[in-house]
């Protein structure tokens, strides 16, 4: 296979493509509208309403006292793990991964515990969530809490529960990421169905087939000429999205969030492989019909289920990990290769040139 010939076909197609200003417009606009403007318009108002900064007041906290000098870490005689208690009094216990509500806890050691509506005395707390709790003569680190009434305790609060911005952001990122994969799969349905049958109807296929190009070269050229604008406009929108996100979110999070590894891998590997699959499906359709409109319809018809299936699979993973992206991209890449050989195998010059049914 001479890549040069594929390159020539692609350059010609792109030269023709450049003349179609409206098509270019829609291809450039679609990823920007769907991948940038729409998610930002949905989420930015929410994000800006979330209170800024790190300070995470514990509401109702009256006093954060210091411990008297004679405070000693309590001794315990039993370890309780992974259970829940309601309305009990606990003495000299070590509690790990326990849920407590309406309890009185005296001289206990708490680790990774959730305490609600209770009183704690003479205890040591670590990584504990407190809600509506009175803490007396106790020490604690890495706490998270609401409505704590503390008397003479030494408590160190940190934000262990995700803030609301941290709940909203992943949703937004996920949505944007999905769109940056779905859009390049959809864009080829605008261009690729035309690729072969368009030349046939324009009668330019005959002189083209009369040149010494092979089927593979011709198809490769056609595939690239749909792939390049689709991916190009996706990458453009992606760059724009990343810059805008960082600019808008910087005051909220203090460091540039984007792009992260998952995003980069998705846009560099997963998006192109899905885009390629959709291009291949459309080129296949285009080489099998004798009418441009039929190709356009059928192209959409073939690609849509593919996109829906993909959304189904991907949305099963709330957060795509870099590894997951690699796995999917590899899978799609293999499918693409198989599909290319299939398209090439069923490409029949004579039939395309002479069949008008």
């Amino acid at each position: 296979m001479h890549w040069r010939n594929a390159w020539i076909v692609m350059r010609k197609d792109l030269a023709e493509f450049r003349k179609q200003k409206l098509v270019i417009g829609s291809i450039v606009a679609m990823p920007i509208i769907l991948g940038v403007i729409f998610p930002l318009a949905t989420f930015v108002p929410i994000i800006t309403m979330i209170p800024q900064g790190e300070s995470w007041d514990v509401p109702g906290l009256l006093e954060l006292g210091s411990l008297p000098d004679d405070f000693i870490v309590p001794w315990t005689n039993q370890t309780i793990a992974e259970s829940s208690f309601t309305e009990v009094v606990l003495h000299h216990k070590t509690l790990k991964n326990v849920n407590l509500s309406n309890c009185i806890i005296i001289s206990c050691i708490l680790e990774d515990v959730i305490v609600i509506n209770s009183t704690i005395q003479n205890s040591s707390l670590e990584r504990t969530y407190l809600e509506n709790v009175t803490v007396v003569r106790s020490e604690g680190r890495e706490l998270d809490g609401r409505y704590i009434l503390s008397v003479s305790s030494n408590l160190l609060f940190i934000r262990t529960k995700p803030s609301e911005i941290n709940q909203v952001l992943p949703m937004m990122f996920n949505m944007m990421l999905m769109i940056f994969i779905i859009v390049p799969a959809t864009l080829p349905t605008i261009i690729a169905p035309y690729s072969i049958v368009g030349e046939k109807n324009n009668r330019s296929l005959e002189p083209l087939l009369a040149t010494p190009t092979t089927d593979g070269e011709l198809l490769a050229g056609k595939i690239f000429s749909s792939f390049v604008p689709s991916m190009g406009s996706t990458l453009l929108a992606f760059a724009l999205g990343v810059v805008l996100l960082d600019v808008i979110l910087l005051p909220q999070v203090n460091y540039p969030l984007m792009p992260n590894l998952t995003w980069i891998l998705s846009v560099v590997l997963l998006a192109p492989t899905t885009c390629l699959m959709s291009v291949l499906a459309c080129v296949l359709v285009s080489s099998k019909v004798s009418d441009v409109r039929a190709a356009q319809q059928l192209g959409g018809f073939v690609v849509m289920p593919m996109v829906v299936l993909m959304i189904g699979v991907l949305s099963g993973f709330l957060f795509l990990s870099p590894l997951m992206v690699l796995v999917f991209a590899g899978l799609y890449g293999c499918l693409d290769l198989g599909l290319f050989y299939f398209v090439k195998a069923v490409f029949n010059r004579e039939k395309i040139l002479t069949t008008w049914k």
Partner: protein
């Protein structure tokens, strides 16, 4: 050299061309003549490896049109002008030609020169960057002709090259074709234009879904018609026609004004006898000439016979 043996192509139940057996020597202009649907385009497409024959074989310079790798070589040696120009309408003439030139590996500079030369010859160089969609039919045809020639192919296949050209442009193209022949190219032309075929073709084949007749355009008529002599007399008396018709060696006689049109088996021998006979009758002979049959006559007669 192009050698065809029993080339046959059917489309479903339609036989486009049957048993096409021919040899086209290098350096000649070969014409395929025939009415609409007689299989000219189909034959040309088979020879350019665009479609596969249903049966039969053909070699072009010892490359086999059935073989996939050979087919690629063959395509590289051919410049094809298809029936319909099939240009990229949004692109300019220059871009259209340049695109095709690249496939044949013509270096940029040579491509430039060749495109400039052909477009200038065809009078389109000044408009090379306009989208060809806005060009007239004949202008598009000229560009399509130029496209077949950009890579300087050995074999040039032209499907009705002058069909939509004005007389001056058609003449230009004909001269160009003769020029190409001088350079050693082999040219295959499909045409309906009989006088054109007569003027430029070394050999023509009459097709009617098979080969009806092959030969030099001038020689095709021989044996097809009894020869016709036209004698112009100063005056023709009305009694002459029945009298002359009864002469042994005259198969048919007609009077047209003061012209006597005779079909004679062997003019070389019989003409002097006719003239002597006329002079003895006291008639004054002004001109004697032999009617020449044009390719058109041959074509119409053969195609008509074929249809029966």
């Amino acid at each position: 050299m192009i050698t065809c043996e029993g080339l046959t192509k059917t489309f479903g139940s339609i036989t486009a061309i049957q048993d096409f057996t021919l040899e086209i020597p290098d350096g000649c202009i070969f014409g395929l003549l025939g009415p609409n649907g007689s299989g000219k385009t189909t034959t040309m497409r088979m020879l350019s490896c665009l479609i596969q024959p249903t049966s039969g074989k053909a070699l072009i310079d010892s490359y086999d049109i059935h073989d996939k790798t050979d087919a690629q070589k063959i395509r590289g040696m051919i410049g094809l002008l298809p029936e319909v120009p099939g240009l990229y309408e949004t692109l300019g003439a220059y871009k259209n030609l340049d695109f095709y030139g690249q496939f044949y590996g013509v270096p940029k500079q040579k491509r430039d020169e060749s495109i400039k030369r052909t477009l200038t010859n065809l009078g389109l160089w000044d408009r090379r960057n306009e989208p060809v969609g806005g060009f007239s039919k004949g202008m598009k045809q000229k560009i399509a002709i130029a496209r077949a020639l950009t890579h300087d192919p050995k074999y040039i296949f032209l499907d009705e090259p002058t069909a939509s050209l004005d007389p001056a442009a058609a003449k230009l193209v004909r001269e160009y074709i003769l020029e190409l022949k001088k350079r050693g190219n082999t040219i295959l032309i499909n045409t309906h234009n009989l006088s054109e075929a007569e003027r430029i073709c070394d050999t023509v084949a009459l097709l009617k879904n098979k080969i009806v007749k092959v030969g030099h355009p001038k020689e095709l008529a021989r044996g097809l018609f009894a020869r016709t002599i036209s004698i112009t007399l100063q005056k023709i008396p009305s009694s002459l026609l029945p009298e002359i018709s009864s002469l042994r060696y005259i198969s048919e006689a007609q009077v047209n004004g003061n012209q006597l049109i005779l079909r004679i088996r062997n003019p070389e021998e019989n003409n002097p006898q006719v003239i002597t006979w006329l002079i003895q009758k006291g008639l004054q002979v002004q001109f004697v000439s032999e009617e020449e049959y044009s390719l058109e006559d041959v074509y119409l007669k053969l195609i008509e016979e074929e249809g029966q």
